[in-house]
Amino acid sequence: MVSFLAKRLGFAVITLFCVLTLVFLLVRILPGDPALVILGDQASPESLMALRQRLGLDQPLPVQYARFLMQSVQGDLGRSMISGRPVMDEILTVLPYTLELTMAALLLGALLGVPAGVWAAVKRGRTPDYILRFLSLVGLSLPAFVAAIVLLMVFAIQLRWFPVISAGGANTLAERLRQMALPTLALALIMMAYITRVTRSAMLEVLSQDFIRTARAKGASPSRVIWNHALGNCLIPITTVVGLYLGILIGNSVLTEIVFSRPGLGKLILSALTQRDYTLLQGMIVIYTLMVVVVNLLTDLTYGFLDPRVKYK
């Protein structure tokens, strides 16, 4: 268990290190002088020089690299070139919005997707199966921003059930849920499609295994065979897919947040991109990768809870 954890952690650290290096190099080989970007064309050579000094851009590359690594390890991702605030602060103020949205979508997707997948598998080749299979195929063919825009157009603009802009400012919980409903639904639809599919195929696989026959030979009820024996053995593939698509979900949330003008990492990264705020950008990429790495670690750990045979060798 310990050695397994150490190995996974080791890989996580290596990944993060590679990402940091990559980001550092990419930002440095960028065309254009960051100081020039910040101060504009009319800036005097003296002020440019001063800014370069302040940003540490006058140092040789290896020195900059070492300093960047040291600071990142300490959780200091530098200061935004535009606002001058620490990158960490910028990210932490909007991170809860993104996490809230992602988690809500994941939860909704799993709550709907798992039973749908089980149902489709049990009714294989019959009407519910065909309908669910088609719907899940549509779900995963739906681009995140298309789902968001269509929901927005129908439920916010035409029917006016939900607010068009889900920017903060909500005081009551009900208002907050109302703001979250559409973006969550847009993301959950796609998540649900993935979960339905993997649950269905895992169930079909498990249902033809010998121990299902044993359970039936004992006289166990069909519902016990399906929900306890079969679904229990499907949780590992389902977790794997959830872990994998959490990465995609984080990416998709960028688009969803922008469509709904919702605060979050998506809006932040887009403004960093358009304003060429490189420090903010590199900080955000580090944070995104960190999240994916953490999700992967959590997925690995979950296996142990789901299956007593997983020994973390």
């Binding site: 049990v122 921003f145 026959r213 359970a215 039936r216 006289g219 079969a230 960028v254 469509v259 994916v292």
Partner: protein, 615 residues
């Protein structure tokens, strides 16, 4: 036949590509010509789908947009596929350092959310088609590398590949000849999946204004433009959304169907796997006299679907079993002995169908019930209580996620046991001889040895004091000393549970001699001989039984002779005696028709014309 399933998505995707390719040749309006007077007009004769916020023709923008979006998606996919496959093959074939570098890099790239990676590359290199292609290719390369890597690893260990390596053929030739055909199917699926993903990403980036550069049309850009006017012209938004989703849907459908054709397991219909409930026989019971014993199988016939219509895998089998008796059902694999036992408990595999016969079971009240005509609800009440079964492979027959105690509790609770069952569980485990029962109850199946697992299976089977125990090769998967212990345990249990009848399915005659009172021999789906064990073994009345006895390694090792020939395929049965092709005593009359059942002595039967001549 299954190829037909590819028709619909194939036509859809093909049509889409064709329109995209032929786009510039079609008689459509210029997609970038602006017409300020016609801004946001709805459909007209000149502009079927209306005009957009700059008065440009929506239909021609959709078509040319398809061209732009699809060509970016296809080119980047092909690029990612070629590079990724090469890397994967190199990593999987040469292992070592190459494996380290390629697969670790792929894993690290996979840690970037794809959209983010794309955003970064686009920002660095500036928007535009070339940048998009490059960045999508980077995003997709690792997935191809992984698929190719996994496929290469599995092919590499195949015998003929190892042989070619040993023969010193050049690596490139081996890779080209053996690997490529084998890894093609998963790669094809990945290809269509990736084109769909590329379309999604391209449109997302264009939607953010980081993809295709206006005024060139792209579906993502069209959605971006229409979004600003969506309150006045919602239709403008609808068309590109439909086109984009439809295109991705067609590709995903193609990919789905491809997978189905390459691996048909997920399709099919009816309740899946062992969840299947086999339909009760509709034909009225033959209404024969109530049997004397515990179980009477009469005229049982089972069919499966063959290449030329249904074929009988079990034909007209009749058996009886008295309370307290052990009947061994013997035969080579494929003789139908396991199917016969599974029919009694209603757990046939989904491919097998009961066609005729009856299985009369006399319950505790002395009422005879036909198990083939009993509704599933009633049959389930008998399963695990009156009828219990032990399966061949104890390691796959126990749910790996349940502790030993939970396995036993499940059987008890399925038949209305309530309250705390801990004491009963421990007692059962002690009865089947598991060491330290209270502790064993807390273990998982994988923590037990094979013999111990089979003991758990037996404990679960006898938990509710069954009257009939069906044992399907319960010792075959175990090694010899453990086999003896399990047989001993079963014999002991029969003593303890008075009146327990046992149907013991096996191919091992030595086991038959040890455990059973009577033996029934099956060949090619038919019962060929039946009688008391000692008498049948001393003087078989069917050449097949005689040959089986002769081929048993027990005792005189020099007499070990396998029976020449093989069991005929179930759809190509000989017209007369099914054993005739392998029988040393066969005569021309044997092929005239199925031999009738003869009764050489009371309690004995044989299905051979020449039984009298058997010394």
């Amino acid at each position: 036949m299954r190829g037909q399933r590819l028709l619909l998505p194939g036509v859809l995707v093909g049509g889409m590509l064709l329109v995209a390719l032929a786009g510039p040749l079609l008689p459509i309006a210029d997609p970038v010509r602006q017409d300020v007077a016609g801004r946001l007009t709805l459909s007209s004769a000149a502009h079927w789908l209306g005009q957009d916020e700059f008065g440009r023709d929506v239909l021609s923008r959709l078509i040319i947009g398809a061209r732009v979006s699809l060509s970016i998606a296809v080119v980047s996919t092909v690029l990612g596929a070629v590079v990724g496959t090469l890397l994967g093959i190199i990593g999987g074939y040469f292992r070592g350092l190459a494996e380290m570098v390629t697969m670790r890099t792929a894993e690290i790239v996979l840690c970037f959310p794809p959209l983010l990676l794309a955003l970064l590359v686009v920002t660095l290199l500036g928007p535009g088609a070339a940048t998009l292609i490059l960045c999508l290719a980077i995003v997709f390369t690792p997935a191809f590398a992984r698929v190719a890597y996994a496929a290469t690893l599995s092919v590499r260990s195949l015998d003929y590949v190892t042989a070619q390596v040993a023969l010193g053929k050049p690596a490139a030739l081996i890779l080209w000849r053996t690997l490529l055909p084998n890894i093609a199917p998963p790669l094809i699926v990945q290809l269509s999946l990736t084109v769909a993903a590329a379309l999604l990403l391209e449109s997302g980036l264009s939607f953010l204004g980081l993809g295709v550069v206006p005024p060139a049309p792209s579906w993502g850009l069209m959605i971006r433009g229409a979004r600003t006017t969506m309150e006045h012209a919602p239709l403008l938004l609808l068309w590109p959304c439909l086109a984009l989703t439809g295109a991705v849907l067609a590709l995903n459908l193609l990919c789905d169907r491809l997978r189905e054709v390459l691996d048909p397991r997920g399709s099919g219909s009816g309740r899946p796997g062992f969840l299947r409930i086999f339909p009760t026989l509709r034909t009225p019971s033959p209404n024969s006299a109530a049997p004397a014993g515990l179980l009477a199988v009469r005229g049982l016939t089972l069919e499966i679907a063959g290449p030329h219509g249904p074929v009988a895998v079990v034909r007209d089998v009749s058996l009886t079993l008295a309370a307290g008796e052990t009947l061994a059902l013997v035969g080579e694999s494929g003789s139908g002995k396991t199917l016969t036992a599974l029919t009694a408990i209603g757990l046939l595999p989904s491919t097998v169908r009961v066609v005729a016969g009856e299985i009369l079971y006399t319950d505790r009240q002395g009422v005879a019930r036909d198990l083939l005509r009993l509704p599933e609800k009633d049959l389930r009440r008998l399963r695990g209580k009156d009828l219990a079964m032990i399966f061949q492979d104890p390691s796959s027959s126990l749910n790996p996620l349940l502790r030993v105690g939970a396995h036993l509790e499940e059987t008890l609770r399925a038949h209305h046991a309530t309250g705390s069952l801990g004491a009963r569980v421990v007692e059962l485990l002690r009865q089947v001889g598991l060491p330290d029962p209270p502790r064993s109850a807390q273990l998982y199946p994988h923590e037990l040895s094979g013999g111990q697992r089979q003991r758990v299976m037996i404990a679960a089977a006898v938990a509710n004091h069954p009257r009939l125990l069906l044992a399907d090769e319960p010792t075959t998967a175990l090694d010899v000393t453990v086999q003896a212990q399990i047989l001993e345990l079963l014999a002991g249990l029969k003593q303890a549970e008075g009146g327990l009848g046992m149907l013991f399915v096996t191919h091992n005659l030595a086991v038959v001699a040890r455990i059973s009172d009577r033996v029934a021999v099956m060949y090619a789906g038919e019962l060929v001989e039946e009688g008391p064990v000692a008498v049948v073994f001393a003087q078989p009345r069917h050449p097949y039984t005689a040959a089986l006895i002769a081929s048993t390694p027990e005792g005189d090792a020099e007499r070990l002779t396998a029976i020449p020939g093989t069991v005929p395929q179930s759809w190509a049965m000989p017209p007369g005696c099914r054993f005739a092709p392998r029988c040393s005593m066969a005569l021309p009359i044997c092929d005239d028709g199925p031999p009738p059942v003869a009764m050489p002595a009371p309690g004995r039967s044989t299905r051979c014309l020449r039984w009298k001549e058997m010394a």
